[in-house]
Symmetry: C3
Subunit: 137 residues, 3 copies
């Protein structure tokens, strides 16, 4: 059995941002030497998410607008009694989910033709980490 762990740190200039992770994940997979197994890609903060979808800029705008509709900012959340103002980022993280497991087959990320992995940041402008752990043989 082989396992390999790396951490990526993102410090986005904008508070909300989207980062395409697939190229970096492919590099990490190459280093791992795993040919058959799983790669877990998981945000280590609770105001960010990781998801799989299409790399199409119009769709990204739709996703952002949709998240804002279902988990709006500018609401007086109870969480804000702590001094935070990021209640909506927590809800967006729950909605999108904070992790994906990508299958590894014959040494490649076994994604479908349009599937790409993204990091969604909803409370950035500070260093935040994503863990990538590949396990298999």
């Amino acid at each position: 059995m082989k396992s390999h762990t790396e951490y990526l740190t993102f410090n986005t200039k904008k508070r909300r941002d989207l980062i395409h992770l697939t190229p970096q994940l492919e590099q990490i997979l190459a280093k791992s030497g795993v040919a058959e197994g799983f790669m877990l890609v998981s945000a280590m903060h609770i105001t960010a998410g990781v998801f799989v979808n299409d790399d199409e800029s119009g769709l990204h705008k739709d996703i952002w607008k949709w998240l804002e509709h279902l988990a709006p900012g500018g609401v007086d959340y109870e969480h804000h009694r702590t001094g935070e103002d990021n209640g909506d980022a927590h809800l967006k993280s729950l909605l999108i989910h904070h992790e994906v497991t990508v299958p590894i087959t014959k040494g490649r990320l076994d994604l479908g033709p349009w599937q790409r992995v993204f990091y969604g940041e909803w409370d950035g402008q500070r260093p935040k980490r994503v863990i990538i752990k590949a396990m298999g043989e």
Copy 2:
């Protein structure tokens, strides 16, 4: 360590459809020889999803209606500038999630009494794949 990978292809007659996967997953598990481990079941398209819930037709209608309410079709999504008309299917895929990891114990899918695995199609009528990868010992 053992690993076993299969792909299922679905070409639904209706644009939106629901397929119960559990019986096929049990057959794949038997072929894999894995007694203890994980089975990843993941849609390879971004307009479909995989989820675990109850095999009850009334509930399935509720889920369909609920998804249509939270991620409606017939909206002028930005994604449609590309010529596509399936923006809602992308959002439904994000909401339901495209993958599940099912535990394998003593050679069985270790699901609760009412848990069944489903493939949710929101933009079908063309061949689309699901990857199933079992890993363990």
Copy 3:
């Protein structure tokens, strides 16, 4: 390869409740002897969920209110034709998701500084199980 499986049973006094699982998961991890790998934490019922977020009581109120808004109770769901009255609990389970995969690194749950694992119950007052399976080396 090592694998270790345990089941936790919860019988909440209230119909809807939230249980912080992280301390119990750490104990299970210690028993498993897994140093590098994955821990799957998955509700075995379809009216409950497992998620990762902040252990902050105000936020928990926000999450509860938000779930009630997006997947409301008191609705005449089709599922209720079966005699059940928990249609909303099924939808809440789909929205939050019923499982998480936690990375294990150097014998520890490799969670970020504020990440904690929770069990969300939306139809309790009866015994319900969660499976925890650690796998790795």
